[in-house]
């Protein structure tokens, strides 16, 4: 407990700056508006719109992860939080894509009308 950090020391470790929040907000705002605009105005085909909004969502997620949650910006190596995030994301993809694949496959083999 003699080793615990003081308020000043903790404050020095936090990565938020006005700049990061401004960029994060602006980028998220723009990406959101574009997404909604694409769907509302129906300028493109459904397929293109679908891929676009997914891409925009991923982009905005990256923006928020970097500028709001400061992922990857830990000072102490190894960057366990970043590693944990990457691994979580990987497992998440496996579970979601795996489940969608399995359920789609199963549903396709059901009797018609079920």
């Amino acid at each position: 407990m003699t080793h615990d950090l003081s308020l000043k020391e903790i404050q020095k470790q936090w990565h938020g700056t006005l700049k990061s929040y401004a960029i994060g907000f602006l980028a998220s705002f723009l990406l959101t508006v574009i997404s909604f605009a694409l769907v509302v105005t129906r300028l493109f085909s459904d397929r293109i719109v679908m891929y676009a909004i997914v891409g925009l969502a991923i982009l905005q997620a990256i923006v928020q992860l970097l500028f709001f949650l400061h992922v990857g910006q830990e000072e102490d190596k190894p960057r366990w939080a970043t590693i944990a995030f990457c691994f979580t994301f990987l497992i998440l993809l496996i579970i979601v894509i795996g489940s969608l694949w399995i359920m789609h496959d199963l549903n396709a083999r059901m009797m018609p009308g079920m």
């Binding site: 003699t2 944990a84 691994f87 795996g98 489940s99 399995i102 359920m103 496959d105 396709a108």
Partner: protein
């Protein structure tokens, strides 16, 4: 006022009354004993409010042993029923009661024996092995235990008030849906598992951060003891798989309580999705209970071979690989649900792949013993039993991983034999080995070795007799969960043999329980006079007294190689200097216990639809959490003088043994 709880809930079938009364009687005796010995204050201060992982670990093991009695009792009933219930005879259990028994058996053994065993062992061993004085989150750790105990107790309550689930340990819908199981049984199961599951998740977070952050100076990852590595590989599984269980059971709960259509037959529900999601959790779960036991054997084999672990690096990579792949095999639990060959084959191949690193581990253990000086202590005997049974069952797993084969034997007794070989041969024998191996560390005396050996031979022979014939029965067409069968099947003789095997295991378990009490009574005879290192160990936990002082290490060790204690013994590392400092330890708190109790009440209230009580207990939990998160972390200080005295007392004891 009482929801759907009526006096009917207290009436049971005659076959159940015995269990009910003996449990109530036992509880009253226990309360009476504690009162007679005037130990309530001691119990409160030393155990119920503790945040010391050493104490919490022991409490986990106590709950595990109690729940093992329940689960094993269920097993005996199953085997007895199946040995008797053939042709005109229908045994002594009604169909409904039989279904409750096998559901309770699986639920208890997986959630409250196996999970409790691994977290109990981790609590006891990890801080000591990494040279730490505590875990990263002492309160969260305690809370995890109390949630676990709460879930366990809820299943015990289900024995006396109302009845338990009849839908198996995984409660597949539509059977577990509100339409086909409207009564309280499934709800008991849901809440017990959910509450314990949250506890596991929190404990998982705690140990993950503990291992990453609390290692002593110099202990890089590749210098960690292998048991700690196995725990480190297991924790991501806990942290990432249990939320899937939480979400899936949540959806089942919503179906049952709010009329939703996730898994219903109508309304567009898809009950196959439940099977998929529950096994996406379920497969990592079986590795969660197994990997720490691999770690246990990796500690025991080198110690009792007087040789360091062969291929430490490959063992570590094998653990990492197994942990990762365990997320990509889950469909092999439902090959027969009807997916196309492409899907089935993908998961079949993934399943076969996971056998490879497991094989690497087996060979490494064997190579460790080669040219070593092998001591056939009972932990080592458990290792041999593990080697035989786990490997054999593992190979039947490879058989099962082939969809065409699985189509023949899925949900037959062949499957039951396979997974019991893994669960008993791997998890349970690992736990027995660990229990015997580390028992002297936390008590200061040995378990009676002779009784250990008798118990071992009963378990090994009983296990072989109880489970090998099941493979044959599976091939002969016997499915699982049968409470009756025709005489013309020809299964009866095998079921009798299996029943005898179960009975021999019962003898073994009885010897173990008796042996525990016998060893405690005779502890002066079996005292550890080595000062904390009875097995000539290699890792840091053997470098401190038995039992360890409350602060574990008077001086935080610094390590520069694997097996740091061995290094000291061989003169390759210096003996730690006695430069003491004040030690700060977190103080006790009753909040973990309170949240556990309120969770128990919440689960009970939700089960019986006593809505006002559910709201009150939930709000109480919130209040406890807020109170806990509003205080400052307080510590007790152990001064340099006190540390000096504790260490000096230990030194004096050592001198007196010479």
């Amino acid at each position: 006022m009482f929801g759907r709880l009526t006096l009917d809930a207290f009436k049971h079938e005659s076959s159940q009354n015995g269990a009910v009364f003996s449990m109530l009687f036992g509880a009253i005796c226990l309360i009476g004993l504690i009162s007679y010995l005037k130990r309530w204050k001691w119990l409160w201060n030393e155990w119920l409010t503790t945040v010391d992982p050493k104490r919490i670990g022991i409490m986990y093991i106590v709950v595990v042993l109690i729940m093992f009695l329940k689960g094993f009792g269920d097993a005996i009933m199953i085997r007895l029923q199946q040995a008797m219930s053939v042709g005109d005879s229908h045994g002594f259990l009604s169909s409904t009661h039989f279904q409750e028994v096998f559901s309770s058996h699986g639920t208890t053994m997986i959630f409250f024996v196996a999970m409790g065993a691994i977290f109990g062992l981790m609590n006891l061993i990890i801080p000591l092995q990494i040279g730490a004085r505590d875990v990263a989150f002492p309160f969260l750790n305690a809370l995890g235990f109390w949630l676990f105990a709460s879930g366990a107790f809820l299943t015990i309550v289900s024995l006396t008030i109302g009845s338990f689930s009849t839908a198996g340990w995984l409660a597949y819908p539509p059977l577990s849906g509100i339409e086909y199981s409207p009564n309280e049984g499934i709800d008991y199961w849901i809440w017990a598992v959910q509450i314990a599951g949250v506890g596991s998740t929190l404990s998982g977070i705690n140990f993950l951060v503990t291992i990453l952050k609390m290692r002593c100076p110099g202990m890089t990852l590749m210098k960690m003891p292998i048991f700690t590595w196995s725990a480190l590989c297991t924790m991501p599984l806990v942290v990432l798989a249990f939320p899937i269980l939480t979400a899936t059971l949540y959806m089942l709960t919503l179906d049952r309580y709010l009329g939703m259509h996730f898994f219903t037959v109508d309304g567009g529900g898809n009950y196959m999705m439940y099977v998929n999601l529950i096994w996406a959790w379920g497969h990592p779960e079986v590795y969660i209970i197994m990997l720490p036991m691999f770690g246990v054997f990796s500690e025991i084999v080198p110690t009792f071979s007087e040789k360091r672990l062969f291929g430490y690096v490959s063992m570590v990579w094998a653990l990492i690989f197994i942990a990762f792949i365990s997320f990509i095999v889950w469909l092999h639990h439902f090959f027969t649900m009807g997916a196309s060959p492409t899907v089935n084959v993908f998961f079949a191949i993934m399943t076969m792949i996971i056998a490879i690193p497991t094989g690497v581990k087996i060979f490494n253990w064997l190579f460790t013993k080669f040219r070593g000086r092998v001591h056939f202590t009972s932990p080592m005997l458990w290792f041999f039993a593990f080697l035989l049974n786990f490997t054999f069952a593992g190979m039947t797993g490879i058989l099962l991983s082939s969809p065409p084969v699985d189509f023949q034997v899925h949900n037959s007794l062949f499957l039951i034999a396979h997974f019991h070989g893994m669960a008993i041969g791997g998890v349970l024998f690992g736990f027995f080995a660990a229990f015997t191996y580390w028992f002297p560390k936390f008590t200061g005396f040995f378990l009676d070795e002779t009784l250990n050996r008798y118990a071992f031979w009963c378990w090994l022979s009983g296990f072989l007799l109880a489970f090998m014939p099941l493979y044959m029965l599976g091939f002969m067409g016997a499915t699982r969960r049968l409470d009756h069968y025709d005489a013309s099947t020809g299964w009866h003789p095998l079921f009798v043999i299996v029943g005898i095997g179960a009975f021999i295991i019962l003898i073994g378990a009885t010897i173990q329980f008796f042996g525990l009490f016998w060893s405690i009574i005779n502890r002066k005879k079996n005292w550890d006079h080595t000062g904390g290192d009875p097995w000539n160990g290699r890792t840091l936990e053997w470098s401190i007294s038995s039992p360890p002082p409350i602060y574990n290490f008077a001086v935080i060790p610094t390590v520069d190689q694997l097996d740091p204690l061995w290094a000291i013994k061989r003169g390759e590392a210096p003996i730690p200097q006695k430069r003491y400092e004040n030690i700060y330890l977190p103080i006790n708190t009753p909040m973990g216990l309170y949240i556990g109790i309120f969770s128990l009440i919440f689960g009970f209230a939700m089960t019986w639809h006593i809505w006002w009580l559910a709201i009150v207990s939930f709000v109480s939990i919130l209040v406890c959490v807020i109170i806990r998160l509003s205080g400052e972390d307080e510590h007790e200080i152990i001064t340099v003088a006190q540390v000096k005295e504790i260490e000096a007392a230990h030194a004096r004891r050592m001198k007196s043994y010479e």
